[in-house]
Amino acid sequence: MKNEKPIPEEWQHLLMKALDEALTQEEQSRFEQLLESSTVFRHEWREFSAVHALTKKVRYKEPQGEIWDMYQTNVYHRIERGLSWFLTLTGILILTAYGLYEFVTLFLADPAIPGIVKIGVVFLGSGLVALFFSVVREKLFIRKNDPYREVER
């Protein structure tokens, strides 16, 4: 195959169009003329027809009808879920920002609270946040890279 001389582009297009039944009348005449006059063209045509016949035998299976009944509803659910996530995350962001602001202005800036308590609370809070993200990241990593995900348990 590698040593074969490539056929002209016009021939390639004619072969493809003939396979896909897309030839115009003019192209049909040219195609027939080439079939008669060129052994290379004839050979290519025979081989391509054989491949086409093979692939035509394999078809997609029609999924069950009920799938299409639920399809639209499922798309709406996904759209709603996208919006819900956006609202939830925005809410979390706003409340976290407000909480941090209050924490700094009311708690950390309060001279009545001993420094050791403030340090303890900062350490505890940071630790809990770090733990939370570490666990979430680990779970996501395992889910994404689980080699047995395709295996039915």
Binding site: Q12, L54, K56, K57, R59, Y60, K61, R78, P147, E150
Partner: protein
């Protein structure tokens, strides 16, 4: 009509988007199926593609047809899925997850049915991604050259040339079968 549905959706009419979903759900599913070879994942990806399209609709060019745009979203999601799957399978010594259950074969000899199905799909799967894509679009989803040109954003002449190269590569992969037929 299609343009009207898109405009209506942009004005907040969800039902108009439903018309688009109804019109293109099967095409979208088969495009994903061609890439991922798995019914459940194809269903999942095609539905996700509609949700993504809904949120990105303001970036859609109203002068162009809707499906080629949706096609590119389905394709990107499918390729992401394949990439993730490859990462997972690499850890199982490249165990192939090729699933042929979503296809049927018109073959009179029952014993050869499964073999033919497997050989044809393996041959298609061994093609370069661009060749595989064009074979799926033309041979299995039966899009016209013009439609393929719009989906892949290439001229019609390039569609035919690429199809020629792809079919030639497929012919090489299936040469013993082809020899039996000629």
């Amino acid at each position: 009509m299609e343009r009207h549905w898109v405009e209506e959706t942009l004005h907040g009419n969800k039902q108009a988007f439903g018309h688009l979903v109804k019109r293109y759900m099967q095409r979208s599913y088969y495009v994903a199926l061609g890439f991922v070879h798995n019914h459940e994942q194809a269903l999942d990806i095609s539905q996700e593609a509609f949700a993504k399209a809904y949120y990105s609709l303001n970036r859609f060019d109203l002068q162009k047809p809707f499906f080629p745009w949706l096609y590119r979203i389905v394709k990107n999601l499918s390729l992401n899925e394949i990439r993730n799957r490859k990462n997972r399978t690499a850890k199982l010594q490249n165990l192939a997850f090729l699933d042929f259950s979503h296809t049927v074969v018109e073959e009179d000899r029952p014993l050869e049915k499964e073999e033919l199905k497997k050989e044809v799909w393996q041959a298609i799967d061994s093609l370069k991604p661009a060749e595989k894509e064009i074979i799926l679009l033309r041979e299995f989803q039966e899009y016209s050259y013009q439609e393929i040109a719009e989906m892949l954003e290439i001229p019609v002449g390039t569609v035919m040339s690429r199809l020629y190269t792809a079919r030639k590569a497929l012919k090489e992969q299936l040469k013993h079968k082809v020899a039996d037929l000629i």
